[in-house]
Subunit: 372 residues, 2 copies
């Protein structure tokens, strides 16, 4: 076997096989490359493209990329504030994830990649050498919706302490996200690993379901807190998901050991499910929750029926939102209603917008407050 033939085989293997030949030798592209000063070089191979830009959530505007002789477009950013950021390339107007980065943002509506800029000290969501929990991909059955996926975090020690029971946080994703987004973009498992290792959060189970009542409700039915979706998902959540979790995991089954939190459309769902069922959830946390003022009364009918009882049941009602988030105003309006009804809450207004950078921060702030 001559060496040319070997090279051919290696190339075929390196493109993962398949019957589509890729005869042109492609340059070896590294992207993203995080530098010591927290600047990052992004690269994208597209010899025939006319215009390639970088859309990164660390910048307000797209960055222009330039092409080298091999057809690799690149840009080096200024030093970036340490965090984890979604980004994509805009290739002649088409938004594309980074093919050289396996950290993909799970989403039904767009494809982004994710880059972590760690800086000199690990962040709360940085993978560290501490005891790690287990992230399990499970299925449960719904009579209406079929076989449903759910991702479940069990903390370190769950398997080795078969008599221990744990409180549960139900954690809901944003509108076009999936059941994987909270771990892959929100790093919920890593945040809890770190907070538990530091003694800052109690060991807990985290349940991350898929929030769209597909296929009964179409994937294009607007926000997760679309009324029809809410009704179907509510049936599934209380009728199938919670029983599945409480049957298959060692959970403590009372309101003081149940929390619910969610981002964006899943934040709206969180308010609808949790705030209106304060006999089941003593901890209700909205992360930039998606709400509409003209739906306040309808969506919170149960909670507002006896505000004093709701307030008494809840150990923590928490709302966080960015000052540049389009949902900032409606969340302030909702807090005014809570004030009128004398329902206590904690609020956090952060810099920035409707981003997973903010959401990771909210989880790291809230987790230490749960089940204490």
């Amino acid at each position: 076997m001559n060496s040319l033939k070997n090279i051919t085989i290696l190339i075929i293997m390196s493109v993962g096989g398949g019957c589509i030949a890729q005869p042109t030798p492609r340059p070896n592209v590294v992207s993203p490359e995080v530098h010591a000063d927290n600047s990052v070089t992004f690269r994208f191979y597209a010899p025939k493209a006319n215009d390639v830009k970088l859309n990164g959530q660390f910048e307000k505007a797209a960055l222009t990329m330039t092409k080298d002789q091999q057809g690799v477009w690149s840009v080096k950013t200024s030093p970036i504030k340490p965090d984890m950021y979604p980004y994509s390339f805009s290739v002649d107007g088409v938004s594309v994830a980074d093919p050289n980065n396996t950290a993909i943002f799970p989403n039904e509506g767009f494809q982004n990649s994710v880059v972590e800029v760690t800086g000199s000290t690990p962040l709360v969501h940085t993978l560290q050498n501490v005891p790690h929990g287990t992230v399990s991909y499970r299925y449960y059955q719904s009579p209406e919706l079929g076989t449903r996926p759910v991702v479940i975090y069990t903390p370190q020690g769950y398997e080795t302490n078969p008599k221990a029971s744990y409180p549960v946080l139900y954690l809901l994703h944003g509108t076009t996200d999936t059941e994987e987004t909270w771990t892959k973009v929100g790093r919920a498992n890593i945040i809890l690993d770190n907070l538990i290792a530091q003694g800052k959060a109690k060991p807990m189970i985290i349940v991350m379901p898929y929030g769209r009542a597909y296929p009964v409700i179409s994937k294009s039915s607007g926000s997760l807190r679309n009324w029809d979706n809410l009704q179907e998902f509510k049936k599934d959540f209380f009728g199938n998901l919670m029983p599945f979790v409480e049957k298959n995991y060692r959970t403590i089954n009372n309101k003081d050991n149940r929390a619910i939190a969610g981002f964006s459309g899943g934040g709206g769902t969180t308010m609808y499910f949790g705030f209106n069922n304060s006999d089941k959830f003593a901890y209700v946390c909205g992360f930039a929750p998606g709400m509409l003022k003209n739906e306040f009364d309808r969506n919170n009918e149960a909670a507002f029926k006896d505000p004093a009882k709701t307030d008494k049941n809840l150990k923590l009602l928490w709302i966080g939102v960015g000052k540049e988030d389009p949902l900032y105003t409606v969340n302030q309006e909702f807090m005014q209603v809570l004030d009128q009804k004398k329902i206590k809450y904690e609020s956090l207004f952060t810099e920035g917008g409707h981003t997973w950078m903010n959401v990771k921060h909210y989880l790291s702030v809230v987790a230490p407050k749960l089940f204490k």
Copy 2:
């Protein structure tokens, strides 16, 4: 709040937030759409592109797509043989995954999406309403390589039968794949769920590690069975991974209850790890294993030292390869060597090439042969 403002908020929420505005209203794109006759319509929104093609592993050649007035490119295929296929769009020469399909092919070198054409009866890899195992994402620690990811399948009943012990299949991915490729593209968990439910395979644990000895060996160091990578990963596999698995899972720890299998570069690794350690693995299965003839002697030194002993230790040596696979010839040459050395093996030569369609089939053929 007027309705226009609401629409703006909904759009921002539906693109997952972030500070990058996407002001142009995009048409609602469904892709892929599988029709009753097993034809599939693929769609891609790219109003400014000049040329968009579909590369699907169900076709020998790329299919031309045509653009409608809204800027959505589409193509409807002929009826496709039921299976699960990787595909991508070629947009003015740039290979892009399908942004409307969350089924992504986990890979370090390219981005494909995956479409399932089920047909009228469920396939062996089709998600069905049978008892499901658990797919766990775990981390283990390597002194040299740091915190390493591994995906572990435990069969249905593992959690509820705390005294039961199980045999273990170590299952290795192809060269540019990741620890997620065997479940997300190979559907190893679903295949085993179905075969176990049908009584065709024994309940087993499947361990799917990450096969690249990164960061010690660079991600661009050629095939997984690059010698330096093999040495580093071997240290990690036997020194860290197997002890982690056998400490944290209820495994049966002898050769007759251990199998190893792998695809492509991971098939080469399988041969090197398993065939040469027949005292530890009685089942060794190469799925289009990546090998070079001039490395036969070096890579199989231990196995060939005492061929009779190797043959006696092994309960199953299995090699499957497609007739159009570039590795077809070298695998035949390897079998000639096995014949000369009187080491028994089973072989399967299938139609098609170096594809995950073939690999899924190989797993479904091999799993019923294990641990019996």
